[in-house]
């Protein structure tokens, strides 16, 4: 109950543009003939953590992949509707994907460090942008690793292979890798599902910390986690946005029957 007073409530339906990080308008997506997302409209507030929950296969991953257009990599995907980030529709044809993806970072369910040194992993995105000066890279690596709460553990072994890190460290490394590009939005697709509770906690704390710097969208199957860390929660069901409100309301007084059934574990 204490939480309720800590958080100022925003009216999601009438969120002013200045406070909107991502605006989704009538988003539809299909893979070939298979419709996965139906007319999704939502505004994701800036510098907040928004959780996406829903049954397996309901389209959560697909939805957040729309925010950095990772669905483009799937041959038969067709996207309709608009997604507005930074005042521009990222679904337009001439959107520069490299710029978009450095602005909208993404972390996957399974940690996927590259088979290089820890240092090179964090530099990967920066090097792609053509940054070569050692000093600049050193600074960026240190900053990103500190932000990802990994610096103390790896500062003496920056040039060892990243695959020697533990799972939780790898996941934080991957977060650091995304943070090195100073993204304004960070997409996390079930970032803790492969981790133990303690490491999960570290990552959750990390998210609360990162919220100052960027907007976070997290997909999770863990109701406790969603209510613990997120400010807002969206419930998806079979590709439709069923309910979207601040987390406290959604988890305590859900408006829709479907939502209630899902969060109380009656199905799914």
């Amino acid at each position: 109950m204490l939480k309720l007073f800590e958080r100022e409530q925003l009216n999601l339906a009438k969120l002013p543009e200045a406070q909107t990080a991502i605006e989704v308008r009538d988003l539809c997506l299909r893979f070939g003939d298979k419709h996965v997302l139906h007319n999704i409209t939502m505004r994701i507030p800036k510098n907040r953590i928004t959780a996406l929950i829903g049954q397996s296969g309901c389209g959560k991953s697909t939805l957040i992949s729309c925010f950095n257009r990772m669905n483009d990599l799937i041959d038969n995907s067709v996207t309709e509707g608009e997604i507005i980030i930074d005042g521009r529709n990222i679904n337009r044809k001439k959107e520069n994907l490299s710029v978009l993806r450095s602005q909208v970072g993404m972390v996957f369910q399974r940690p996927n460090p590259f088979p290089m040194s820890i240092y090179d992993n964090v530099c990967y995105g920066l090097r792609l942008q053509g940054i070569k000066q050692r000093r600049q890279l050193d600074d960026a690596v240190e900053r990103a690793l500190i932000e990802a709460a990994l610096w103390d553990e790896v500062k003496d072994r920056l040039f060892e292979s990243a695959t020697t890190l533990s799972g939780g460290q790898q996941q934080r490394l991957v977060i650091a890798r995304a943070l090195a590009l100073k993204p304004s939005i960070l997409l996390l697709d079930e970032p803790t599902s492969a981790l133990d509770p303690l490491t999960t906690l570290i990552i959750e704390e990390l998210m609360a910390d990162l919220k100052k710097r960027c907007t976070i969208v997290i997909v999770t199957h863990n109701m406790q986690q969603a209510s613990r860390v997120s400010d807002y929660t969206a419930f998806l069901h079979q590709g439709e946005l069923v309910e979207y409100s601040d987390s406290d309301t959604l988890f305590t007084l859900p408006e829709k029957k479907q939502t209630e059934d899902y969060i109380t574990g009656r199905y799914g």
């Binding site: 994907l97 993806r101 450095s102 460090p113 995105g125 792609l128 695959t163």
Partner: protein, 529 residues
């Protein structure tokens, strides 16, 4: 009936154990077969270097003339004759005054009167690759003096010094005179210009010097005696190595083997590939494999990357894939014919038309050469590299590619920075297989540039140093050639086996290098995956 079926006879467990035993037996058989092949080639190959005793043989020719000679007997033939139960016969190589440089002969056992060890007889290897078996007596020096055999080494050094002097004069003096004369010719300087006359005088002087040195050399001779008492003179300058196999202990024999191995690796073949070394063939083989690797790797990798990453997933792509795998099964001679018809005649011929027109009708590129051979072998091994690389590409986890894309990498950057490094062990596997395949081929090479004897290496001090248009020698061709000589000649059979052994060593070394490289790449890029 049922009573006798195997099923009833054996329990399930027994059946299983029989199947496992059978499998183990087959695997064991394979290992034994491989070991046998290696042993045979190693033993017969090393036999080439092992000093054979020189023996004194008395025998009668079919026409009744008796002969007494120094000879080296080929023991293999005696053994095989004894085993097969046929009339035993001796095959040996001997020297006498009629055939001082050796002759191979088959004599039936009952025509041989006596055989005895001849420790005093030497096995004299000449620079031109032939051998003389005779007993050294003394050394003849200039001005009709004579030296002791014990002074052989010193005198040999003097001779070498004179020979070197001649070579220096030839290389430094005469060659420069020739060059200057040629440049005068080019500028069309008159026949009686003073510069020309001075050069003629120089030429005359140095030529005289060479002649006098050579005359001096000719005075140093080894006096030897054949078994029938006739004397025979061998110019010291012609002698490469002199040894007394009958007097050697183990260390001495090993020394001979060592010298023989070094000569084998560094010398050119002599006596129509029946003696001497194989350096040009070794060089040609390694060069061909290197050039082929340099050609096939980028092509194969590019093709595999295209097929795996870019090509749409449709029927055409799968048809191409099937074609690629089937290409590996095309007989290699077909590639040879293709290389000859397409690369040499068509491509090479057109290059000649376009760029080397002034040299026509003598072809420059339109003739078999090491480059075309490498290119043909590259085409031949391309499928292997493509298939192995694709295998490596497929093993790159999808999650890593997504991770790279999510950091803003383009498709090309993802492939370059993430996919290819992780596929590099697979690529190396392809290269290893390609090397193994290319090193073993002979037939296609003979069509596109490998020859039994090439006067020049494809590499020398002349610009552009690497002459990829030249024909080259190849160990495989040498072995093939040797197989024809080997029926009559003992030594060249051994040479063939020694070349085989060397070819195995080359393939083995190249493979080991590639495997080490692959292990390092694996450790670097695939640890933890």
């Amino acid at each position: 009936m049922d009573k006798w079926s195997l099923r009833q006879f054996l329990t399930n467990r027994q059946q299983q154990s029989y199947v496992i035993s059978l499998g183990a037996f087959c695997a064991g058989l394979l290992v034994v077969a491989l070991a046998c092949v290696l042993m045979l080639i190693t033993i017969r190959g090393l036999d080439y270097f092992w000093p054979r005793p020189v023996q004194s043989i008395q025998f009668e020719l079919p026409d009744g003339t008796a002969k007494q000679v120094y000879a080296q007997i080929n023991e293999r033939h005696i053994n095989s004759a004894v085993e097969s139960g046929s009339e035993p016969a001796f095959v040996f190589r001997y020297s006498d005054s009629q055939h001082p440089y050796g002759r191979s002969l088959l004599v039936e056992a009952n025509a041989v009167e006596a055989i005895s060890e001849a420790a005093q007889a030497a096995d004299i290897l000449l620079i031109n690759g032939s051998r003389v078996f005779s007993e050294p007596l003394s050394i003849r020096l200039p001005e009709d003096q004579s030296g002791e055999l014990t002074q052989y080494d010193e005198i040999r050094d003097t001779v070498t010094a004179i020979r070197e002097q001649i070579e220096t004069v030839r290389k430094e003096r005469l060659a420069s005179v020739h060059r200057e004369l040629a440049s005068l010719d080019l500028r069309q300087v008159e026949e009686d210009a003073p510069a020309r006359l001075r050069l003629y005088a120089d030429f005359e002087r140095w030529q005289q010097e060479v002649l006098s040195l050579e005359a001096q050399l000719a005075d140093y001779q080894l006096v030897t005696r054949f078994n029938n008492g006739r004397e025979f003179l061998i110019p010291l300058d012609d002698i490469d190595r002199l040894s007394y196999p009958g007097q050697l202990d183990w260390f001495g024999k090993l020394g001979i083997v060592g010298a023989g191995v070094v000569a084998f690796l560094t010398d050119a073949p002599k006596q129509a590939n029946t003696a001497g070394g194989v350096f040009p063939a070794l060089f040609g083989t390694v060069l061909m494999i290197f050039v082929m690797t340099i050609l096939v790797t980028p092509f194969g990798v590019l093709a595999a990357v295209y097929l795996n990453e870019y090509a749409p997933d449709n029927h055409l792509t799968s048809v191409i894939r099937i074609c690629v795998s089937n290409m590996a099964g095309v007989p290699s001679i077909v590639y040879g014919v293709f290389g000859l018809g397409f690369f040499v005649y068509l491509v090479g011929g057109n290059i000649d038309e376009l760029f080397f027109k002034d040299a026509l009708p003598a072809p420059t590129m339109g003739t078999p050469g090491v480059f075309w051979a490498s290119l043909t072998m590259a085409i031949l091994t391309l499928p292997v590299v493509i298939v192995a690389t694709e295998e490596g590409l497929r093993r790159v986890p999808e999650g890593l590619k997504s991770g790279s894309y999510a950091l803003g990498a383009t498709k090309f950057e993802t492939i370059w920075h993430t996919v290819l490094p992780m596929a590099s062990p697979g690529i190396m596997t392809g290269v290893i297989l390609a090397i193994a395949r290319a090193a073993g081929e002979v037939a296609p090479l003979m069509l596109v540039g490998a020859v039994k004897f090439a006067p020049n290496l494809p590499f020398d001090g002349e610009f552009p140093y690497l002459h990829l248009d030249r024909q080259f020698m190849h160990l495989g061709v040498l072995i093939y050639d040797g197989a024809f000589h080997s029926q009559t000649d003992v030594r060249s059979a051994s040479l063939m086996f020694a070349s085989c052994l060397l070819l195995l060593v080359v393939v083995f070394v190249l493979n080991v290098l590639a495997v080490i490289l692959r292990r390092r790449l694996r450790k670097r890029y695939l640890r933890g995956y």
